[in-house]
Amino acid sequence: MSELTQELKAKIITQLNLEDLAIEDLADDTPLFGDGLGLDSIDALELIVMLDKSYGIKLADPKEGRKVFETIQTMADFIEASRK
């Protein structure tokens, strides 16, 4: 599991151009939106593209993303659950 979270952190930093952040700066439970990392609805769309391209998971409704992308941990859990 922690391998997946590390991988996700690296991917998020690259995909969303968070170049000032290091993997260590991102905790598994940092809220990605709102007062946490401060991501927005466009980032959510980019994360949906990432889920599809990297993990073959398609989200049809951007509203679904809200729950999935709450934290790195919720993303990892969602990916794990989809793999089963």
Binding site: D40, S41, I42, L45, I48, V49, D61, P62
Partner: protein, 404 residues
Amino acid sequence: MKEPIPIAITGMGAISAIGNDVANHYSSLRSSNPGIGPITQVQTHHRGNLLVGEISMDNGALYDCLAIPAHEAYTRSTLLALVAVREALVNAGIDPADGYRTGLISATTVGGMDATETYYEDYLVSKSHQHFIPTHPSGYSTEQLARHIGVTEFVTTISTACSSAANAIMLGARMIKAGLLDRAIVGGTDCLSKFTINGFNALMIYTDSYCRPFDEHRNGLNLGEAAAYLVLESPELVKQRTQTPIAYLTGYGNANDAFHQTASSDDGEGAYLAMKQALKVANLDAADVDYINAHGTATPNNDLAEGQALLRIYGSVEAVPAFSSTKAFTGHTLAAAGAIEAVISILALQHQVVFPNLNFSQPITTLGIVPQTQLLPKKIDHVLSNSFGFGGNCSTLLFSNAHD
């Protein structure tokens, strides 16, 4: 308060999925005959799964109808614009080269992108379409238009995403009021393209069906293509020409939501400010408005924010006048939307009728406002038309009756 100077509208022309001229627009609107259907012209993967408001004439037919030699490079947005501008000039009974200071202000976001995306690789390896290379810049289309109709005085192009045409109309009025022009030909044009279809699809705001403006279960827009232009003239010139205006442009406003690159703020701040300003310029109260032609793209975000702004302007659900989004007829025509909806607003004034908001069944729970879903004959003196775009760009126009 100073009496506002009414800018006369003496002509209009339009082409969209619901008609190749203004008269056909009126009959389609009147008979609730929408123009949304499958993609048959743009070469895209999304043929068969996304619906658009396509103009049935293909580029070949447009070249023929405009008598443009086949070897000359005109992109679709320019061809559509020429059709609409010609109709507007005939309707106004003017020749732009008649000596009055006439400007052309055109809006586009697609510009020549339809050619660029088609020949992107081809340009590098073959000479056969290289004469289309210069058509890429948005301004090129306006310049072709200007040469065709003989406008030499002032020519410019506006691109503020989906509010572009409303802003072009507004600039024309402001330049006339400032004494810089006697007359302005104003409007916008955008054709369908792979670029925009894929863009809105990637934003996940493109419905997989027919768009449902202001409905609780709306799930996105249908793109459309259109061009529409108005002829605006100063009150003095109209008097000299003894021309009867078809309507007046009495108010306009532009404001920025300053909230997010694409999303509208929850309280519709930009929309609210734009409507407030337009009413102020026209020296009208919100209650004077008889019909609102809403932006109503049928995306979850737009309709909620616009509805919220309407409630802020009017104070209660009951006070909101008859309103409808006509995007279910034409599709969202981007930079042309403000102009095609200006034409629809003027038709509403001329025929004293509110056009229906199609595909609506259930009001948005948090708002409770219900658009006009049937054709409604009523006394209409003032029509308010909204156009909002990416980058928080919000514009409102106010059209008023000719017989005042």
